[in-house]
Each structure stands twice: as C-alpha cells, then as structure tokens.
C-alpha cells in the first residue's frame, strides 16, 4: 500500500486549562491514514484518544481547550487548523464524520431519528428534503435497521442501544465521508451487538474505501478489524505499526503489558495476570521522562529523566522506548524479550529480526 495518505496529523498538541493547571491532554501526536485503511488508536482512559479525534473535527472549544501552535492536521494538503469556519464546517460532516461513544446522549433526545439524519444530508448536499428523506431511509436500511420507513419517524429513546448506535453510523455515513472517526463506538454495547456493529464498520471501509480511525481500548476489537494500530499513553503515541507487528512483536513495554493484562483463554485458571502496577500519570504535570517509566518493569534511570527517542522498525512500525537505545545493556533487553515470549505465546509464528532498527 503505497497510496498517498488522506489525513495526516503532525505534532498535535492539545491542552485544557483547568483550576489545577494546564492539562496537557495530547502531547505531540503524529499519524496518518490512507483511504480504505482502518487505523486503530488504542489506549487507556484519559490518554487523549477522544481529544485527538475532536481536534481533527475542530471540536476543541476555547476558552478551556487550546490546540497548540505548530500542530498540523493536513487534509488534501491543507491544514485544517488554519481553515476558516465555513471550510471547517464543510469538512465536518461532509468530508469527515464521527461516531460517538454513547449514542444515548449523542443523539438529540427530542428530535426524530430521521430528522437528525436528514439534517446532515441537507447540510452538505444540494438535495431536497424529500430526497434526503428517501436517502435517510436507505441509510437506515443499510445499517441494518428493520422497517426503516417507520423507524425514521421515531425518537432515539424508542430505539435500543444497538439500534441507536447504528443510527449514529447512518448519520455519520450520510454524506459518504472520506474519513470516519469512530470513538469507542461499541463500548456501551453487549458483545453480541458489538460484533454486529464492528461488522458494519468493516463493511463500510471495504465497500466505500473510507479511511477509518477507530478509537478503542479493547484489543480484541482491534485484532479483528484494524490495519494499523497506534498505541497511546499519556497523550503520546508510544508505539505504532501494522496490526500483526503490534500484536505479535510489540516493542514497547506498555503495549506488551496491555497484551499481558488480557487473560488468554489458554491460560491457567486463576493464574496471576501480567498486570501493570500503579496508575497513568496525571497530565497536569506529566513526568519529564517517559510517562510510563514509573509503571515499567524495565525502567532505567534515563527513563525517568529524558523522553525516549522514536525507534523505527520495519514497515512503519515504531516505538518510543529507551530499551531500543544502542547503549542499553543486553541484559535489560533480554528481560523484555523473555517476558514477551512468555506473554505472547504464538510470537514465534511471526518472525522478525530482533535488533534491527530502521532509522
């Protein structure tokens, strides 16, 4: 895949000003997505996933929120952050749309589902209300809502959780967006429904060649749908790469720890999991070194003092960790690799040259 990237985020920094000080929610995030590609951004609560996606949609609101100077979000060669209001509005909803986490609160409770879809269509496409309505019915059908003709005139509260989420998707895809951002689209749903929704999103991506940014904290979902994965921690992307690299050959202790936290079916019952100690740092005063250092089993003195550089591995796989520094004692690296072997049982199925880093 050597297509041109559709959306490119460069050094995105977002802060919120609160009583306790400035919350540096996103601290220099860069990534890109191509058409027809699904990028999963994974990370724990509060690591800045939603803020990143909102920044793309220019939904970070002053005076509390602030996108720092030097951040770039490039779409079709233009920096979205420098566009005027009108252009931004055309981008939102038209070129790029978003599915929010909790459809119950994200849909207007007092407006009929149909109107909420039609509203989006009319905003971005030059068609009549009547046509838009027809369109909306088709959309509802497309996302698998039975009896769309009657459902279109119902209110959100008359829909079940899964159906609401589908309606959200219908709104999102109403204008054939080039980019679809799905911010934890299934967190509030049951597994059986979750599976349905994920099938739907994958189908869209394949059919319409939409670029999808999927935000989640569930490795299971990522494993089943992503092309590329970016792992976020404390407002930064600590590791990013193709799906298989991340799952089978993680290079960052955090990624590894996350994978170790999920019980594997083949593991022994009641065996202790590979948990991470402590809690993520408060982004009000992010540590000056690696944000993960204090929770890391391989923490070195340097980790506490300096930010790690990015180490590039093959095919766009990169991680920010001091372990990959040339001068790191082999014993330390070995420790990490041993643990990885233990946690990732079928690591061997996926062989890459270990210490080969690409600049």
């Amino acid at each position: 895949m050597s297509q041109e990237s559709l959306l490119k985020v460069e050094d995105l920094k977002v802060s919120f000003h609160t009583y306790a000080g400035e919350v540096q929610a996103v601290r220099g995030v860069s990534f890109e997505v191509k058409a027809g590609e699904l990028l999963a951004i994974i990370g724990e609560s509060g690591c800045g996933k939603s803020v990143t996606s909102r920044a793309i949609m220019s939904l970070v609101k002053a005076p509390q929120g602030e996108i720092k100077k030097g951040s770039k979000i490039i779409y079709h060669g233009k920096n979205l952050l420098e566009m005027n209001q009108k252009e931004q509005r055309a981008f939102r909803g038209g070129e790029c749309s978003m599915i929010f986490q909790d459809a119950l609160v994200s849909l207007n409770p007092t407006m009929k589902i149909g109107r909420q879809i039609i509203e989006n269509i009319i905003q971005h496409r030059q068609i009549s209300r009547k046509e838009a309505r027809q369109e909306a019915i088709l959309l509802l059908e497309a996302v698998g809502i039975p009896n769309p003709e009657t459902r279109i005139d119902q209110y959100p509260f008359e829909f079940s959780g899964g159906m609401r989420q589908r309606a959200m998707i219908a709104i999102a895809i109403a204008c054939d967006p080039k980019i679809l951002i799905a911010d934890e689209p299934t967190t509030a749903l049951d597994v059986t429904i979750q599976a349905q929704i994920m099938e739907l999103i994958k189908g869209l991506k394949d059919k319409l060649k939409t670029a999808v940014i999927l935000i989640t904290h569930d490795f299971g979902i990522v494993a089943g749908s992503a092309n590329k994965v970016a792992v976020m921690y404390a407002g930064q992307i600590v590791e990013s790469g193709g799906r298989d690299e991340i799952f089978y050959h993680p290079q960052h202790p955090y990624t590894l720890a996350l994978l170790g936290s999920v019980p594997k079916l083949e593991w022994k019952n009641k065996q202790l999991l590979h948990a991470i100690k402590g809690t993520p740092p408060d982004l009000i005063s992010p540590p000056k070194g690696c944000a993960f250092a204090k929770r890391c089993n391989y923490c070195m003195n340097v980790c506490l003092e300096e930010m790690p550089e990015i180490t590039y591995f093959e095919a766009g796989h990169h991680a920010s960790c001091w372990l990959h520094h040339k001068e790191v004692p082999a014993a330390n690296k070995k420790m990490f690799q041993d643990d990885r072997k233990m946690i990732i049982v079928n690591e061997n199925d996926f062989v890459v040259d270990e210490d080969q880093s690409y600049e």
């Binding site: 509390q64 809690t279 408060d282 929770r295 340097v302 980790c303 506490l304 001068e327 004692p329």
Partner: protein, 305 residues
C-alpha cells in the same frame, strides 16, 4: 562506555517512586466549592456587598449618632445635611440610622425564616422520602394542597390567628415557603438512597441514623445551602409585601418593607424616603441573588473541573 552512561541505563530502583502518585491538590468538596466561588468575580463582589451591608446593619444605626426611634416631629422631613446624613423621615427620625436598622431586621427575618423553612422542609422531606409508600402519598398531597392555596391567605390567617409579632411573622413566612425545600430534599434523598455508596454503607451494617448522619446529610447539605441562599431574597421580598399590605411588623419594629411603604407615601415630595430603602432593598436582593447563582455554580458537582 564510561560509568556515567552505564548509570543512565541501569535499571532504576523501583522502590524510589510511587506509581500511584496523586498530583492534584488535596482539597475537599467545600474547599473546591470555595475555590470556584472565588473565581466568580461577580459573586465575590456580592458577597463583599453582603458583608458590608451586614456590618452596616450592625453598626450603621449608631454611626450618625442620631436618634431613629423617638419621634421628634419638630424636625421632620429635613433634607440631608451633616447631622442627618440622609435627612429625617416624616416623623423626625434619622433616616440614615433607620435605613440600617430596617435592613438589620430584614436580614434577620429573612435569615431566620429561611433557616426555619429549610429545617422544616428538610425534616418533612426526609420523613416523606424515608417512610415512603402511603405516608409519602399523604404527605405529598398535603404539600400539593398547600401549594395550591395562595400564600397570601395562609400568611394572613397565621398572622391573624397568632397576632402579628415576630414569631408569627417568621412562622408565616416559612410556612408558605417550606414546601419547595421539602420536595427538593425528598427528591435528593430518594436519589441518594438508590446510590451505591449508601448501599455500600448499609451492606457494611450501618444503622439508619449513621446513614443519615454520615451520608445523607452531608450529601444534601450543598443543596440545602443553595436553597437557603436563594430563598433569602424571596423571603425579604415577601416580608416587604406583607409590610406593604400592613400585615407585617408591629411598631416599634420595622423593616425595609415598612420604610418602603412609608417612603412610597412620601415619594412625591421626598423621593429620598423611597429611593434609599428601594436601592438598599434592590442591592440586598441583588447581592443575594447573584451570590445564590454563584453558589449554584460552585456547589454543582457536575461542573467540577
């Protein structure tokens, strides 16, 4: 490699740091509320105004050193001068001192009535919420009935039956107001009762009194404070209206309402007699209202940031 570099890449001593560090300042709910209130300049200003008014109501009557109770018709309706800073009223009393004295009474009545109202409302509301079922239905009906009777008549009846003194007035003012508190407390307690931390407490075997004292009351307190802050201006107003209708206070006691109603009669000739009490009333109610708004924002847990 020098030893310095080695040190850099040595594994760090894990016991040296705490992965569970909490960096946010250690502040309680009330400190937090106070902090947020402090950020609201208008509310702070109102608070300052209220404090000044309060202090003035205490020391103001004595400040000018002029009499404000004895009627000295010889010096009535004097214009403001260096002895009588705001002039004298229609019976020769120092208006400046009277103003503050009246204010003192208005504040006193409002505060006491608001307290009474809140206490009655809380008890009633809590009992309703706590007993539930049939009792709740009946008590709710009573509230509904009370709400549907125009407050003026209830007030009047009380003042007439009990005579118009301080206590009946206070009683009358709170009896017409407490239902809203009761409803609010009831709602809050019903909500809290379902909350998991109350369940946790009872699962630990906490007695009812403990649940009430340790959980229900502290968690309703902010709403109660808010309720009180917002009802004070209401009560000041109600009292004013009652004084206007001549069913308020008994002389020699007087309030802003009394001054207003006397001032209204003198308006055409001595606008100051109406102007100053009106302004003071306006300022007082304004300050309470703005402070109430500020408190609402400061005490609302959802606005925590």
């Amino acid at each position: 490699m020098n030893s310095l570099v080695d040190k850099r890449f040595e594994l760090a001593d894990q016991s040296r740091f705490d992965a569970d560090e909490v960096v946010r300042p250690n502040i309680s709910y009330w400190q937090d509320a106070w902090r947020r209130l402090k950020k609201n300049k208008l509310a702070l200003l109102s608070m300052a105004v209220l404090i000044i008014l309060f202090v003035m109501s205490m020391i103001g009557p004595g400040l000018s050193g002029q009499n404000y109770t004895t009627l000295t018709p010889e010096i009535k309706n004097l214009p403001p001068d260096s002895t009588y800073w705001l002039g004298t009223d229609y019976l020769g009393r120092d208006l400046f001192s009277r103003l503050w004295k009246g204010l003192r009474f208005s504040i006193f009545v409002a505060t006491v009535a608001a307290t009474l109202k809140v206490v009655i409302g809380c008890i009633y509301g809590a009992v309703m919420a706590y007993l539930g079922g049939f009792v709740d239905d009946v008590m709710m009906r009573i509230v509904e009935v009370l709400n549907s009777i125009p407050y003026l008549i209830v007030t009047l009846i009380i003042l007439v039956v009990l005579g118009n003194g301080y206590l009946p007035l206070l009683f009358a003012l709170c009896i017409t107001n407490w239902t809203s508190t009761a409803r609010m407390v009831r709602g809050q307690i019903l909500k809290l009762r379902e909350s998991e931390y109350i369940m946790a407490s009872s699962a630990l075997g906490a007695s009812t009194t403990r649940v009430i004292a340790k959980h229900l009351i502290p968690n309703t307190l902010s709403l109660i404070i808010l309720d009180m802050a917002t009802s004070i201006p209401h009560i000041i107003f109600d009292e004013t209206i009652l004084s206007f209708l001549g069913i308020g206070l008994q002389p020699p006691a007087f309030s802003l309402g009394t001054l207003l109603s006397a001032g209204q009669e003198a308006m055409a000739f001595y606008p100051a007699h109406l102007l100053f009490p009106s302004l003071l009333l306006c300022l007082l109610v304004l300050a309470f209202n703005i402070l109430g708004d500020g408190l609402r924002d400061a005490l609302d847990p959802q606005l925590r940031d």
